[in-house]
């Protein structure tokens, strides 16, 4: 705390803040980037950090029907006051650091508007008094991490990769060359985890129970039950079946506030049956990652939806929701899908890079956690790519943390201090001049 060399690495995402100290291998805390207010109270509260391996869960706050305020809209910081509140809580009560004795490595989305950059600089230097600041963009950090983790792969030998970041607010496909993001070639789809959750909310509210206000619960439903279909027409037909033939039907039990405070999947093994369909010789996603096996009921009890309990069934929604990333047009958006997005990003680069980029696609961001995401992407991408190029898609091991880990590596590198803008430089030159240093 007292040494001047502490570097705080902050991946300030629209959904989750990943924060920790540079040089460590995992962030010390992951916390939702929002304040919430339950309908019973008037105060806006800080959500608890997500449980990690080291910390055990304390008492869960009641998040049912909570209203949310987020400082970030469509991926960009629009409410610095709110962000200041969240950061000061983070720095003082969770990380226990003193900003005036540390440097900050902060991620910023591509194409941040100058006015937003200015307010971010004010926040860092004037409100928190950080010693120095380095602004990084997430694709280059992901590239850095992957290249250093596997030094013998093409990503690190060719020093270039295509990073597909499918996060909370939007999806970017950005080529990275020699640790620099080629921003003239980056392409964006305005769809991310938040829109998907809202879409799922809309569907469930119309078809079963009104959950329009249950952001946190529906996030959980999406994470536990949604998956990417490998063959949509086939799966739609299967979803039409009744009874046991329907491999996709699964039941989610909403929290009742008395016996359980969190919702859960009713028959987890039933919810995983769709995996038996992955018969195309494609690699299966690891099983057993779904927890919540509290209820091991007998098959005889499997009846239709019990109306006295708060629960609802999902069938085709499970794969039609993530489907929107691959076909935003189905939602009425005038935007191309992810596969085409990648092709366009690569086509904007120099032709010499094309074969290498197709062979080093890295998936990162929380929304790539949908099972079968990579397999489906490869299936869609292959027909669009020239025959003589190889397509290789690498999913990051921990896509939510990938950016942070890259940042931690960068912060630990010996010449990090020289790359930063210090507070005195900021005071002398102002925001715009200092920004030139980061080549954005």
């Amino acid at each position: 705390m007292s040494s001047t060399s502490t570097v705080v690495v902050l991946d300030n995402g629209g959904g989750l803040i990943k924060a920790g100290l540079g040089g460590e291998c995992d962030p010390s805390t992951i916390i939702p980037n929002c304040l919430y207010r339950s309908p019973a109270s008037k105060k806006w509260l800080h959500p608890n950090p997500l449980p990690t391996t080291t910390t055990t869960t304390t008492t869960e706050p009641d998040l049912t029907s909570a209203a949310v305020r987020r400082p970030i809209d469509r991926g960009y910081l629009i409410n610095p006051d709110l962000q200041r509140e969240i950061w000061s809580h983070l720095f003082s009560s969770i990380l226990h650091i003193n900003p005036s004795h540390s440097s900050l490595l902060l991620t910023e989305p591509l194409f941040t508007l100058p006015s937003i950059q200015r307010s971010l600089d004010e926040l860092v230097f004037e409100d928190f008094n950080f010693n120095s600041l380095y602004i990084a963009d997430s694709p280059s950090l992901v590239h850095l991490y992957e290249a250093s983790r596997r030094p013998d792969t093409l990503v690190s030998r060719a020093q270039c990769s295509l990073v597909v970041d499918c996060g909370f607010s939007f999806t970017h496909a950005s080529p990275v060359f020699q640790n620099f993001t080629l921003n003239y070639a980056a392409k964006r789809i305005d769809l991310g985890g938040k829109a998907l959750t809202n879409y799922l909310k809309e569907l469930v509210s119309f078809r079963a129970v009104n959950v329009m206000e249950e952001t946190f619960i529906m996030d959980d439903v999406k994470e536990k039950l949604c998956f990417v279909s490998l063959d949509v027409p086939r799966d739609l037909n299967i979803a039409r079946n009744r009874g046991k033939e329907n491999l996709f039907r699964s039941t989610y039990v909403l929290p009742d506030g008395i016996t359980h405070m969190k919702g859960f999947v009713k028959y987890p093994e039933q919810a995983r049956r769709y995996l038996s369909l992955a018969d195309d010789g494609l690699s299966r996603p690891p099983e057993g990652d779904m927890n919540c096996l509290e209820f091991a009921e007998h098959p005889a009890e499997r009846k239709a939806v019990d109306l006295t309990k708060n629960e609802f069934d999902l069938t085709n929604e499970r794969f039609l929701v993530p489907e929107m990333i691959f076909h935003p047009a189905d939602l009425g958006m005038n935007q191309a899908g992810l596969a085409e997005c990648i092709v366009r990003a690569i086509n904007s680069c120099h032709p010499h890079l094309h074969p290498v980029l197709y062979e080093s696609i890295i998936l990162t961001g929380g929304s790539t956690l949908f099972p079968q995401f990579a397999a489906r992407l490869e299936k869609e991408l292959r027909p669009l790519v020239p025959d003589d190029y190889n397509v290789k898609i690498t999913a990051q091991e921990d896509p939510i943390l990938g950016v942070w880990r890259g940042g931690s590596l960068l912060a630990a590198s010996p010449d990090f201090e020289e790359m930063c803008v210090t507070k005195s430089e900021y005071e002398e030159h102002g925001s715009a001049r200092c920004r030139k240093r980061f080549f954005h």
């Binding site: 209203a67 629009i78 980056a186 952001t215 935007q335």
Partner: protein
Amino acid sequence: MEDDGSNPLRRMSSRTRKVASKMVAALSSSDNRTQAALARLDALENDNAGFEVTDANNDDDEASLDDEDQVYMQKKQSKGTKRKTRQAKALEARKAPRTFLELLHEANLESLPANVPTYWKAAVGPPSSTSRRHFCTVCGFSANYTCVRCGMRFCSYRCQNVHNDTRCLKFVA
């Protein structure tokens, strides 16, 4: 207050007449449907479903339906709350965080030279094939039919009935 209360029937009928003309206009133009579609996409980026849009804006929308209503609303408002001074309004506007789209508009990215990559240029652009799969808005399976009134999709007679009963927009005001 008096002229509103004295003849409620007349007021109702004029209102329905005006709504009817709006309905004809809405049915004849396809633009309303695209507007509704855009509004729906916008709603996907909302943090909270119902909470935020409860004040000011909604009143304005309703008031514009009907001139008499507008007068009535103004009366009601002036009675209930104090009128805000310009200064107070300006202060409030400065305090409220602006949305990203407002900031984007302010940044005036169009004025930059063509070779500078910007937020707008990074958008992936329209898909190469215009074909769009339609899913039934009621049950989610592929939908072959379109509602003649609001343009939403449904797949069967059963779903059509559900649609008509629950969410057929009829027209977008």
